[in-house]
């Protein structure tokens, strides 16, 4: 397997780039594995990678019904950050951010992690106080955060509407270490990394059933035959309910549609990730020049993966309100992903009532930034059969117990998180 480097690129350049092999193998499934991960998206690939990398479990298969990386990891707005309020969340996301910071060297794959800073705008005193509560919580937990006033925001992002806005900008909460990463590259880099450690990544292999012996899992039925494993992890965000149902488990999860958009490429106009505080809008500019942006959920259960007109109107209106100069640019594409939304907005990384079966899901719309942290914690949870402190709160039981981790305070209404 060839190592990536500028020297290799040059030597390959001299012979027509013909020496590169597959980034990951295309193996047939073996009859049995130590661990099966269902789902070849960001979380599944990261889980397999960290099972091999940090838990020493390499006899692992990732089963993907189609092609890896074409679900939400390939459909998001690429934002990476750890600016959460509750320690149950911010310590987890901070672990993830720290993994991001070394991911390229670890994977030998440039995922273009760009720590350009994430600014959440605030538009009122009460919003400032709520953001300050969050920023102070981050700082107490060792996470970087800065509170900006209006003039500091203006100096960083002069193209925002400071003069004619319906909801004037008062300032912003900045996390400088936040930023963006190239989403596809993360999936490919993790696949290549896991593969190099011995993990079998098996595409076009749909799981059709989860086989149990009493209260414990023994393997999975697939379109390519039965595959045995004493431990099975579900990492199929968007379809967690469907796969969990194969093991007879009902979850506090609903699937909802989240859209993303990209504009035509232009020379740099925006150097940070900025979120609008008076609505649902976030934007950054990709290295290629496209403005990548998104908004809120469509607000009703959906698996359609299809963009809709009303949400395009909402999101783009808010974009123009926040940055009036965008008005003359053109939007190129809109698309949608299926989010599994939990009933408090916080994910599930946990054991299930079935022994040996673990679930990683409920990513709401925060899944991309969590990818390495999620894989790292899920690998730990599967290997040790108990959660790490970072994901100890992310259980199914928290809803029965009343221990929700509800950052927004929106309550048991998944479409409001």
């Amino acid at each position: 397997m060839s190592k990536y480097s500028v020297f290799r690129l040059i030597s390959e350049g001299l012979r027509g780039q013909t020496g590169w092999g597959r980034a990951w193998r295309d193996p047939d499934p073996k009859p049995a594995y130590d661990v099966i991960i269902i789902g070849g998206g960001g979380h599944g690939l990261a889980s397999a990678y960290y099972l091999a990398r940090t838990q020493g479990i390499t006899n692992v298969a990732v089963l993907e019904r189609g092609q890896i990386g074409l679900g939400n990891v390939g459909r998001n707005t690429t934002i990476v950050r750890s600016n959460y309020l509750f320690p149950e969340n911010n310590l987890f996301y901070e672990k993830s951010l720290q993994l991001w910071e070394g991911l390229e060297q670890d994977l030998n794959f440039n995922v273009m992690m760009s720590q350009r800073g994430v600014i959440n705008l605030y538009h009122s005193d009460s919003q400032r106080d709520a953001y300050a509560r969050r920023g102070n919580s981050m700082r107490l937990n060792g996470i970087d955060a800065e509170l900006l006033d209006r003039e500091q925001v203006r100096a960083m992002v002069p193209i925002l509407d400071f003069d004619n806005a319906r909801f004037p900008i008062q300032g912003g909460l900045l996390q400088r270490r936040g930023g963006t990463a190239r989403h596809d590259a993360v999936a490919w880099g993790l696949a290549r990394g896991a593969d190099r450690l011995g993990v079998d990544i098996i595409q076009n292999c749909e799981v059709t059933g989860i086989r149990r012996d009493g209260d414990r899992v023994v393997g999975v039925e697939t379109t390519r035959g039965y595959i045995a494993a004493p431990k099975v992890g579900i990492a199929v965000a968007g379809h967690t309910s469907q796969v969990a149902a194969m093991a007879g488990i009902r979850l506090p999860v609903e699937s909802h549609l989240l859209q993303a958009f990209v504009s035509e490429s232009v020379k740099p106009v925006l150097d940070h990730v900025v979120t609008f505080g008076a609505g649902h809008f976030y934007i950054s500019q990709s290295d290629k020049g496209g403005l990548v942006f998104g908004g809120g959920l469509d607000g009703y259960n959906s698996f359609s993966q299809r963009g809709t007109l009303p949400e395009a109107e909402h999101v783009i209106s808010e974009g123009v309100a926040m940055i009036p100069m965008l008005s003359r640019l053109r939007v190129l594409r809109q698309w949608a992903g299926v989010m599994d939304m939990t009933f408090d907005g916080t994910p599930l990384i946990c054991k299930t009532p079935v022994r040996g079966l673990y679930v990683n899901g409920g990513w709401c719309y925060g899944g991309f930034k969590a990818v390495p942290g999620s894989g790292w914690c899920f690998a730990h949870t599967i290997a040790k059969d108990e959660p790490h402190a970072f994901n100890a709160a992310m259980t199914i039981e928290r809803f029965r117990d009343g221990a929700m981790v509800d950052e927004k305070g929106a309550g048991p209404f998944p479409w409001l998180h």
């Binding site: 990536y4 390229e104 290295d287 963009g307 008005s327 939007v331 927004k408």
Partner: protein, 983 residues
């Protein structure tokens, strides 16, 4: 020489008028009817842009919206718009365009060195390098990449133009106005259907615009359509998306063909069209063939060269070489020759061609079984190398125009948006729309039907079927004179790429070569979506409209499979890019959201109210003639209330009228406390939970009669509370006799608060004894002020003796002014939202920061309000173990130990045990300067809060490196015994 490539005659341009324009500062002329592209060609401008990655010189490739290369910066200043396709930009007098992505100039572009080192920059090279050292990514590599990437430059100032959105319904929407589209609209219109015919071009006619012999037919069809009242013709309108429930989005370029929009006219108008049925007559685009240096300026699609000659009267070159794999190339060659362009040769990959003899009769050299292996020239084509595919040497042909006819891609984009599967057509070697899943059908070339006559017939059939499906079945006979001719054979020999040395481009805009796609395949990116993403093929502004299938074909060959098996990347909206402004319409700037104003709004304006947006409402923060900032005006108003009396506009509070025999029972189930026992003429504070046990809202609710209550909600939750009540009544307890209605906007409401509130009101209230016994705390009564009916509620948010006075909205100002007048002896002042907040924090009343959806009744000290008997929303879930844990943060008061105001307490601070402790015990929710206790104080949620009363903690605010010592106390900083409100 001006317009040296303008043909002596022909075309649909208006030669009687001349339009001036500039490109890169050079002055040129064109005519009405030109696009910027045709005018540039007329003036001999070949080089119009630089490519994305290699900065290779690029010219005009197409004549329509599918253009991958000729992207320019249009206009200047605030109206400049990047990446405009010269092929669709209508020429207007004074047009200014500049080239993009080059430095220092289009002719000499330093970054074109990328092309020389291109062998080291294959697809995805950036994934393999720029990783060392790690810190260099943000500092060095990324800024370089970002500057090099991108295409045009955005205007860095707000857009001066306006946009609007409109809504339409129709029975049949026809997209595209070629022969099929015109016939479909005509047929549907004759059947009585309401028809919209949308055409992206500025002229209706599609391919008919190239056929002078069909001009009469085109005109007669348009005249007939114009005569049907229920047919609406929308030129310059691109339908960009087909959405669920048969809704389509379209953008009309109302003023883009003018220097600036006329007064009171928009630049663009976005249509939301609800169509019972849709006919997609969107035509087809010609596709290229990959061969070395197929990107040189002067390499053009054959149909485009024909379009420039026939429609615009310009010669795209002097001596053309045509490279074809189908008969269409011959048609284009003949058209060029007829227009006066020399045709050097037709290079046909096929060994047999129907048109070969005709070509030879015309004196054109035809080389069958041949292919183009290289293109000569730098910034413009000078010739090509060709060879026989059946063996033999290469030879060179001179020419300045290389026309490529690689076959046709029917425009299946809108059909694909519906998730209808595509169907492979072996004869065309192209995908066609498959079985529809929404109310649409494709017609004409978009459905794989070629030839004007056949398209017209197919369109008429589709139009009739669509009308019938929409319910218009008695189609009247109508006269549809069929055009004839144009029965070219569209079959192609599946030929995609010439295998020869050099860069053979597949995606011209993103500089993706056939080798790049093969590299992706070698590296395991074998699925079309992976290959697309890895190479960026089909991801440019043209979204691969000309080249998408070519990429699939190159990948298919690498995989050893059919193109059909490989498929196409998913087509997603938008068919062509849409301006942000068009989406936003009028909902931009101040108009992003509507503004709600209270009935007293104009009084506040006249009296120096300083306003704040609270949700949609505008509310006065405080009043100041000098517009001073800081705490002074707030403290002044708050002191007036504590010492004398103040009046505050509280009209924004939600007000819900609740009537019915079971109104009391309903409220008992809604609130944690009991309302059925409330006496008529009394108010009670109520607390509402969500079903998960968290506090939802609070407010006072009054009983106006046995069967009628008036509820007040917080300003923020008014709409949600009403929806919640309607849900419960309609779906959970439909058996209850109760009706609910919002009356928020019907009432002006004002709070008159302070120790002299009664005295002030006694000066103006008639018909109600305000004495403490007659009208005690929590009393409700009707009266009159200044002749206006009012309702008084003796409730208090400030902690002072207070009355809320409600009057029908129209009487608001009169009543407000009467109270101000009556309260003059008591020194009454108006107070705003800031003082209101200050007073409620001092008193310890909870509001938004405490009712944030994360707190239970117990957390807020309201556990006694949870009735023991009977059902109410949230009762069961509120008892879950973690929610009754003694460790949860609970509401307390906090006060700065230091009374000097120097060390500031702030909302959002966390409470810790030691100044440098990192362990948060809770947080400050609401903080104010106190007029009563003369220090910073506020409310906080702290673990074991009530048990800590009397303790000292530190409020830490690391964002500003502030730590303030505080004392934990009761949340009721003022009058904890509640004496004042009862005075």
């Amino acid at each position: 020489m001006s317009q040296r490539n303008r043909l002596a005659s022909g075309g649909r341009i208006d030669r009687s008028r001349t339009l001036k324009f500039t490109f890169d500062g050079h002055a040129f002329e064109g005519h009405p009817g030109d696009t910027l592209a045709s005018a540039l060609i007329a003036n001999g401008e070949r080089l119009v842009g630089r490519s994305f990655k290699y900065h290779r010189p690029r010219g005009i490739v197409t004549s329509g919206p599918e253009e991958p290369c000729a992207l320019v910066q249009l206009r200047a200043g605030a109206r400049q718009e990047p990446n405009t396709r010269a092929t669709v930009a209508e020429l207007f007098d004074g047009l200014v365009a500049t080239s993009q992505n080059r430095w220092p100039s289009l002719a000499v572009d330093i970054a074109s060195i990328n092309s020389l080192v291109g062998r080291f920059l294959p697809a995805g090279f950036y994934y393999k390098t720029f990783m060392w050292p790690a810190s260099f990514w943000e500092k060095v590599y990324e800024p370089l990449i970002r500057r090099a990437a991108g295409l045009g430059k955005a205007a860095m100032e707000p857009d001066p133009d306006e946009y609007e959105t409109v809504h339409a319904h129709c029975d049949v929407l026809v997209v595209g106005s070629g022969a099929a589209g015109l016939a479909a609209a005509r047929a549907a219109g004759a059947a009585g259907a309401r028809v919209i015919l949308a055409e992206q071009d500025f002229e209706m006619g599609g391919g008919l615009l190239l056929e002078p012999q069909h001009e009469a037919w085109r005109r007669s069809m348009l005249e007939a359509l114009s005569a049907i009242p229920d047919v609406r013709l929308l030129p310059r309108t691109s339908v960009f998306g087909f959405y669920e429930h048969d809704v389509l989005g379209a953008i009309e370029r109302v003023s883009d063909h003018l220097p600036v929009p006329p007064d009171h006219q928009v630049r663009q108008r976005r249509w939301t069209i609800r169509a019972r049925q849709t006919v997609l007559a969107t035509g087809a685009t010609e596709r290229p063939i990959a061969f070395p240096n197929n990107d040189r300026p002067g390499v053009m699609l054959a149909s485009a060269a024909m379009t420039y000659a026939r429609r615009f009267g310009v010669a795209a070159g002097e001596r053309a070489i045509v490279f074809a794999n189908n008969d269409g190339g011959y048609e284009s060659a003949f058209a060029l020759q007829d227009a006066g362009v020399a045709v050097a040769a037709i290079i046909d990959v096929r060994n047999k061609a129907k048109g070969a003899d005709a070509a030879r009769d015309r004196g054109i050299v035809v080389r069958l079984g041949s292919e183009v292996t290289n293109v000569h020239g730098g910034r413009s084509v000078s010739g090509a190398t060709i060879r026989s595919r059946n063996g033999g040497g290469e030879r060179t042909i001179d020419g300045d125009l290389l026309c490529v006819a690689g076959g046709w891609n029917p425009a299946v984009y809108l059909a694909s948006h519906t998730r209808a599967r595509l169907r492979w057509d072996g004869g065309l070697s192209a995908f066609l729309p498959g079985t529809p899943v929404q109310a649409e059908r494709s017609a004409g070339t978009a459905a794989g039907v070629f030839g004007i006559a056949r398209c017209a017939a197919d369109g008429a059939k589709a139009g009739l079927e669509a009308a019938s499906a929409a319910g218009f079945r008695d189609s009247k006979a109508f006269d549809l004179p069929a055009p004839d001719g144009g029965d070219a054979d569209p079959k192609v020999e599946a030929f995609w790429e010439v295998k020869a040395k050099g860069k053979s481009f597949v995606d011209l805009q993103n500089d993706v070569t056939a080798d790049d796609i093969r590299l992706a395949h070698r590296e395991g990116y074998t699925h079309i979506e992976h290959a697309k993403r890895y190479t960026t093929h089909s991801m440019a502004t043209d979204q691969g409209r000309t080249s998408g299938l070519l990429g699939s074909a190159v990948l298919a060959e690498a995989r050893g499979e059919t193109v059909q098996k490989v498929g196409m990347p998913t087509y997603r909206p938008y068919v062509t890019p849409v301006s942000w402004g068009g989406f936003a319409g009028r909902e931009a700037g101040h108009h992003l959201a509507p503004v709600r104003r209270t009935p007293l709004h104009h009084w506040h304006i006249r009296n120096h109210g300083i306003f704040l947006e609270t949700g949609l409402w505008l509310r006065p923060l405080y009043y100041s003639a000098t517009r001073e900032t800081g705490w002074d005006p707030i403290l002044r108003e708050a002191r007036a209330v504590r010492q004398n009396v103040g009046i505050c506009d509280v009209s924004t509070l939600g007000k819900i009228d609740i009537q019915g025999r079971d109104a009391g029972t309903f409220l008992d189930r809604l609130y944690t406390n009991t309302f059925s026992t409330l006496a008529v003429g009394k108010a009670r504070y109520g607390l509402m939970l969500r079903e998960d046990g968290m506090v939802f809202d609070d407010g006072t609710t009054s009983r106006l009669s046995e069967t009628r209550y008036l509820m007040t909600t917080t300003t923020a939750k008014a709409a949600e509370v009403l929806a919640h009540m309607e849900f419960l009544h309609q779906t959970v307890w439909p058996e209850l006799d109760v009706r609910t209605c919002t009356v928020t906007d019907q009432w002006a409401q004002m709070s008159v608060a302070g120790p002299k509130a009664r005295l002030a009101l006694q000066g103006c209230v008639e018909g109600l004894d305000l004495g403490n016994e007659a009208f005690p705390f929590m009393g409700v009564g009707d009266a009159r002020i200044a002749g206006c009916p009012v309702r008084l509620y003796r409730v208090s948010f400030s902690g002072e003796m207070a009355y809320e006075v409600a009057t029908p909205a129209g009487y608001g100002e009169r009543v407000w002014e009467a109270i101000l007048e009556a309260g003059k002896p008591q020194g009454i002042v108006p107070y705003g939202l800031e003082a209101l907040g200050l007073l409620r924090i001092e008193k310890g009343h909870v509001a938004g920061p405490e009712l944030n959806g994360q707190t239970t009744a117990k957390d807020l000290g309201f556990e006694k309000m949870m009735k023991k008997k009977g059902d109410f929303i949230g009762r069961v879930s509120a008892e879950r173990p973690a929610l009754v844990s003694p460790d949860r943060p609970r509401l307390v008061g906090i006060r700065a130990v230091d009374p000097s105001f120097e060390k500031r307490l702030r909302g959002g601070a966390h409470l810790v045990e030691k100044p440098d402790s990192k362990k948060s015990l809770g947080w400050a929710t609401s903080i104010t300067r106190s007029v009563e206790l003369e220090r910073w104080l506020g409310l906080a949620m702290i673990r074991q809060g009530p048990e800590r009363i009397g303790q000292r903690l530190y409020a830490t605010y690391p964002l500003k490196n502030e730590v303030v010592e505080v004392e934990i106390c009761s949340p009721h900083h003022v009058d904890p015994e509640n004496l004042r409100v009862r005075a």
